[in-house]
Amino acid sequence: MLKNSPEPEDLLPLTPAVFHILLALAEAERHGYAIMDHVTQTTDGQISMGAGTLYGTIKRLLHSKLIEESDERPDPEMDDERRRYYRLTDFGRRVMTAEAQRYARLVKMARASGLLARLQNP
C-alpha cells in the first residue's frame, strides 16, 4: 500500500512517456512544446507524443509532485507570456535517479547474460 509520502521506489517503473518528460526537465525548465521537441529528438522520433498525451501526463506529474510549474521565464522578452514552464522537483529528481539506477542494473544484467554484447555485435 502507498504511504502518504511515497518513496521514489514506490513510483517505479515509470512509463516511457513519463520517463522522457522527466528526462527533458532534468536538463532545464521547459514549456510543453520544448518538452515534446526534446522527446522527439532524443528518441530519434521513436516516441512522439501529442498535446493530449503530453498535458495528461503533465497533469499527473504535477499531482504526484514530481514536477512543478515555474514562474520564471528564461527570456521574457523573447517568449510568449501564455506559455507554462515546468521544472523537476527534488522528489522528481530522486525518482529519476532511482529509475536511472534501475535501468543501469538492467543493462548490467543484460551485459552479464551476453545479450547486450550480442545486440551490439550482430
Binding site: 510543453g32 512544446y33 515534446m36 512522439s48 507524443m49 501529442g50 498535446a51 493530449g52 498525451t53 503530453l54 498535458y55 495528461g56 503533465i58 497533469k59 510568449d80 501564455r82 506559455r83 507554462r84
Partner: protein
C-alpha cells in the same frame, strides 16, 4: 496579405480547439489553451518543413492521440468522482442500476433474448458491487441497509419467475448469490455489532 500557410494553421487550430470538447470540462479549462497553443506550434513547424504532407500527417497523428487521451481523462474523472461519492449514493445508484437492468431484461426478453440475458448478468454484477459498498456503509444506517436489501430480494422474487417464464438461459446462482449477499451483508454486520463486547 496573409500567407496561405498561416490561414491553414489557423483553420487547423480552430478545428483542434473545437475537438477539445471531448475532454472533461475541468481538464479543458486547465489545459485547453496550452494544448491549442502547442498544436499551433506543431502546425507552424509542419508548414515550415516545406513538405505538403507534413500538416495532414500531423492531423492524422493528432486525432488518435486526442481520442486516447480524452478517453483516459474522462475515465480518470469518473473514478475520481466515484472516490468522492458517498457510500450511500453509490449504493443507491447500484441498486437502481441493478433493478433497472433486471426490469429492462424482462421487457426485452421475448424480442431480444441475448440482450435480456446480458442485462440480467449486469444486474447481478451491480448487486455484487453493491454488497461491497454496503460493507462500507456506516453502522448507524444498518436498519436502512436491511430494508434496502429486503426490498431488492422481494423485487428479484418477482422478476426471476418472469425470466423462467420467458425461458431465458440465465444461470440462477449468478443472480441469486449477489442478491442474497445484499441482504446478508447488513445482517452479518448487525450480528457482529451484537457480539461486540460493550464497555
Amino acid at each position: 496579405m496573409k500567407d496561405s500557410s498561416d490561414i491553414t494553421v489557423r483553420r487547423a487550430s480552430w478545428i483542434y480547439e473545437r475537438l477539445l470538447w471531448i475532454y472533461p470540462r475541468s481538464h479543458r479549462r486547465e489545459y485547453g489553451p496550452v494544448m491549442v497553443q502547442l498544436f499551433r506550434d506543431q502546425c507552424r513547424a509542419a508548414s515550415r518543413s516545406g513538405s505538403r504532407w507534413a500538416l495532414p500527417a500531423l492531423m492524422l497523428r493528432t486525432i488518435p492521440d486526442l481520442a486516447r487521451s480524452a478517453f483516459r481523462e474522462n475515465l480518470t474523472e469518473q473514478f475520481t468522482h466515484m472516490k468522492t461519492m458517498s457510500v450511500q449514493k453509490l449504493s443507491l445508484l447500484l441498486f437502481v442500476a441493478g433493478i433497472g437492468a433486471a426490469l429492462w431484461s424482462c421487457s426485452v426478453g421475448r424480442s431480444q433474448p441475448g440482450i435480456a440475458v446480458g442485462l440480467a448478468y449486469f444486474s447481478g454484477l451491480a448487486l455484487l458491487v453493491r454488497a461491497f459498498a454496503e460493507w462500507k456503509r456506516p453502522e448507524s444506517e444498518l436498519i436502512r441497509s436491511l430494508i434496502w436489501g429486503a426490498t431488492g430480494a422481494v423485487i428479484y422474487a418477482i422478476i426471476m419467475p418472469v425470466w423462467a417464464k420467458l425461458k431465458l438461459p440465465v444461470i440462477a446462482p449468478l443472480i441469486v448469490i449477489p442478491m442474497f449477499l445484499n441482504a446478508l451483508v447488513p445482517l452479518f454486520k448487525s450480528a457482529l455489532r451484537l457480539m461486540r463486547p460493550r464497555l
